[in-house]
């Protein structure tokens, strides 16, 4: 081809390659991170850590600020975000709750379909824990015992739609065993119930249980994860132990109001991609025992659909009335 064509092509290539750096959108005022928990809750702690990290590593030209909109099991935060259509300086941390709650709650005015996915950040595995002096050494022991005395063994956990109960429903369905589920509103109370011997088992995030396991009060009998977590190399995952159930991660990521231009989404995607590459973030994942589940907006949108459909099925099986 002619020299001129080559130069034009090279220029175009250069422009395309420089694309992200030339993205038109850049935030000009502090960005609000909406979380659906009060101060101290899981999403809140993550958001605060992210704010700290972004500032320290100078990843963005403006400040990020956490806005707690707790209430309604996440619905208040969702409504707040959905109503801010077109706002380019608001993002929110979503969790699995944002996907499942609207399925069972008629009062929900908005679902994730009314928002723009940005990025998926982490997948939180869980461990199945029992009190250290319990007779169950493996998941099989627990399931066998549950089969022998249906409904007598007890698990402590959160609400009916929480991941704890979802794992329980899946296990009960696949093994035919049956045990009771007792809801406690706070993580502290759930742990207290287990340590006090009032319940037999719980599904708990590893960083919450970590110290108790180290102190010898709790024991892990199985892992709810794709691969074994580093601190528990000898404990099988549920799949390895032979339970063919889909892995149910607790998922956390970022969404924003719909009606924003593609370059805005691209900006935030890029921001979080840079964030998850920092050593501080990697160390955070290690400390908290999270799995890196980074996905960009398009894949995340597909993930939302698969996850929602999966949850709908599980809830229907469990007998919870599903409204949408």
């Amino acid at each position: 081809m002619t020299l001129r064509t080559s130069i034009i092509m090279a220029a175009c290539a250069a422009a395309l390659a420089a694309g992200p750096a030339w993205a038109q959108f850049k935030p000009t005022k502090p960005v609000e991170i909406v979380v659906h928990t009060g101060p101290g809750g899981g999403a809140d702690v993550l958001a605060r850590f992210m704010t700290q990290l972004i500032e320290k590593e100078n990843l963005a030209p403006v400040r990020f600020q956490v806005n707690n909109r707790d209430g309604g099991g996440g619905l208040r935060a969702m409504a707040y975000v959905a109503e801010k259509k077109g706002d380019t300086h608001t993002i929110a941390i979503f969790t699995g709750n944002w996907l499942t709650n609207p399925l069972v709650r008629a009062e929900a005015k908005f679902t994730l379909k009314d928002m723009q996915p940005v990025a998926r950040l982490v997948l939180e595995p869980a461990v199945v824990a029992v009190k250290a002096d319990a007779p169950f050494k493996t998941m099989k022991d627990f399931i066998e015992a549950a089969k022998k005395t249906p409904g007598t063994l007890k698990q402590s956990g959160g609400s009916q739609t929480s991941r704890d109960n979802v794992v329980r429903q899946l296990l009960m369905k696949s093994t035919g065993a049956n045990w009771a589920y007792i809801s406690f509103p706070g993580g502290g109370e759930r742990i207290a119930a287990l340590l006090g011997g009032h319940v037999n088992m719980m599904v708990i995030e590893p960083q919450e249980a970590g110290e108790h396991i180290k102190a010898g009060n709790m024991r892990v009998i199985a892992q709810v994860a794709e691969k074994r977590l580093a601190p528990y190399p000898n404990v099988p995952t549920l799949k390895e132990a032979g339970y063919e159930i889909p892995n149910v991660p607790q998922v956390r990521g970022v969404v924003m109001p719909s009606g924003v231009a593609p370059d805005v989404v691209a900006y935030y995607e890029d921001l979080f991609q840079r964030m998850v590459k920092t050593p501080t973030w990697r160390k955070y994942l290690e400390d908290q025992q999270f799995e890196d589940g980074f996905q960009k907006s398009v894949e995340l949108g597909k993930f939302f659909d698969t996850f929602t459909n999966q949850m709908r099925e599980i809830l229907k099986e469990a007998g919870t009335p599903v409204v949408r």
Partner: protein
């Protein structure tokens, strides 16, 4: 002794000038936050978290803890002067504290509140220091049946708060229980009494009801009088601004009562300072020689609950520090703070970070002294607020109440609810229904229902679980005794009258 040596090290840490500064900053801020209704220590601590990242964890914890127990000191101020509970735990202080203010004893009430808070706060710290680990184990033995029994015991206190008509008090309590049930049900995920409104999904926030029923109803009731509003008498002279020796002497048991009850209830994760103050108040009334005077402005009625809600902070730190289990909203944020600072909360935390624990304990002693010194001289100043003419005072109360409620969740819907409850409170006043049982029902209803259902789930539907366990059985028996007591008293007075007539 080991403990003394550790405490010595703790004081060395706590008395460092920087830590003294942070301690003061914390308790001062806490007092301010406690005075303002709506804004609580939990939200304040959350807002200050980013600031703490640049500080060493021990100093940060000293400051945050200062906010936590400082807020309990501040909450009594508006409760006594304006019948506005600044903190949910100050509701009980409103009962006798405000009545004392109406009688011109506002300064005395404030003084007793401060002194009770100091004594109980100190006792709480001592207990935290000495018996934390074994007490934490005791706390673990408490599960749903025991919580249920504790709540029933608390509700039985209604009998003691009844005033003239027990029926009206029980009715108010039932309304409180009903309001407590509104919202999402944790176990079945059903929405109860939400009227299809997503704002109602969390039920009604306690602060809104308390401020509406207490403060707003007071304003409305006073607005009825067409003539220049009756101002509350302001005591003249320094002597009248502080509690008399007689009053302090009368509170001797109350100080002890508040300290012990508050601390023990604080240790139980999930039971809060509101329950502690109600039970302490009830206990004080039971042992008092003049129980019928409670509610009209007796100093013990201020000392007991104020003491209880202060030593409760010491108690709440026990499960947090020894097991990493948060017992309340504020301790949950402290737990998050620990995680963000890189500490690992759990059974090994004190072992791994002794200077943190002992520095904190020592700073709590210091903080309590600071608070006493801060609060006592400010009493005459605060008491002057009562000098404001009603056309200034009542709008100020309305303003503080509205803003306070809005800060809870930035929701206008909450403000409408506030108005509705203010109206309810006004109606209750006019029809002579006591409002304390309603608050009691609201506070306890949620936790009690949850505890009952959890217990039944644990026992597969067998109610026997509530009486087969020793702790819960004891508390239930106590509750029943409390409920039967009025009958005894009536019986006794018949007997006495019969003897007199015959003899």
């Amino acid at each position: 002794m080991d403990v003394l040596a550790n405490l010595g090290h703790g004081f060395i840490v706590a008395l460092e000038p920087l830590n003294l500064f942070w301690c003061f900053a914390g308790v001062f801020l806490g007092t301010v936050v406690g005075v303002m209704p709506g804004l609580g220590p939990a939200a304040t601590i959350a807002m200050l978290l980013p600031l703490t990242f640049k500080m060493p964890p021990t100093s940060a914890l000293i400051m945050l803890a200062g906010i936590y127990y400082g807020a309990k000191y501040g909450g009594s101020t508006t409760a006594i002067l304006l019948n506005v509970p600044g903190e949910s735990a100050s509701v009980v202080t409103c009962l006798d504290g405000y009545q004392m203010a109406r009688k011109g004893r506002a300064g005395a009430a404030l003084g007793i509140a401060a002194i009770a808070s100091f004594i109980a706060g100190t006792v709480g710290v001592v207990a935290l220091m000495l018996v934390a680990p074994p007490l934490a184990k005791f706390g673990l033995a408490f599960s749903s049946p025991e919580y249920f029994a504790l709540m029933v015991l608390g509700l039985a206190m209604v009998v003691l708060l009844a005033g003239e008509s027990l029926v009206k008090a029980l009715l108010a309590m039932l309304v409180g229980l009903w309001i407590a049930g509104m919202g999402i049900d944790l176990f079945s995920d059903a929405s109860r009494f939400t009227f299809g409104n997503s704002e109602m999904l969390d039920g009604v926030d306690f602060v809104i009801v308390a401020i509406g029923v207490f403060a707003l109803s007071e304003v409305f009731a006073n607005m009825e009088q067409r003539e220049e509003g009756t101002m509350l008498p302001v005591p003249k002279g320094l002597r009248n601004l502080l509690p008399t020796m007689a009053e302090l002497k009368a509170c001797r048991f109350a100080f002890l009562n508040g300290s012990v009850v508050g601390f023990i209830i604080g240790v139980l994760p999930g039971a809060g300072s509101t329950i502690a103050s109600f039970i302490s108040y009830g206990l004080e009334k039971v042992v008092s020689k003049h129980p019928e005077k409670f509610g009209t402005g007796v100093p013990e009625g201020v000392a007991a609950p104020e003491g209880a809600n202060n030593s409760e902070t010491g108690g709440a730190l026990v499960p947090l520090l020894t097991l990493g289990i948060p017992g309340s909203g504020t301790t949950a944020i402290l737990l998050a703070a620990f995680v963000l600072w890189g500490l690992k909360p759990g059974p090994l935390m004190i072992q791994d970070n002794p200077e943190l624990f002992w520095g904190l304990v020592a700073s709590m002693y210091v903080g309590n002294v600071m608070l006493l010194v801060l609060n006592l001289p400010l009493i005459p100043l605060f008491a002057q607020i009562l000098k404001l003419p009603s056309y200034l005072l009542y709008p100020i109360i309305l303003g503080i109440s509205l803003v306070g409620v809005y800060t809870v969740s930035s929701s206008l819907f909450d403000c409408y609810m506030l108005a509705a409850f203010g109206l309810l409170g006004y109606l209750m006043r006019r029809l002579d229904y006591p409002s304390a049982p309603l608050i009691l029902g609201l506070v306890l209803g949620d936790a009690m229902e949850r505890a009952l259902r959890q217990s039944l789930m644990m026992s597969q539907g067998d109610l026997g679980i509530l009486v087969s366990r020793p702790i819960s059985a004891t508390m239930l028996v106590l509750a029943v005794l409390l409920l039967i007591m009025p009958l005894f008293r009536k019986f006794n007075s018949w007997r006495v009258r019969a003897i007199e007539e015959n003899g």
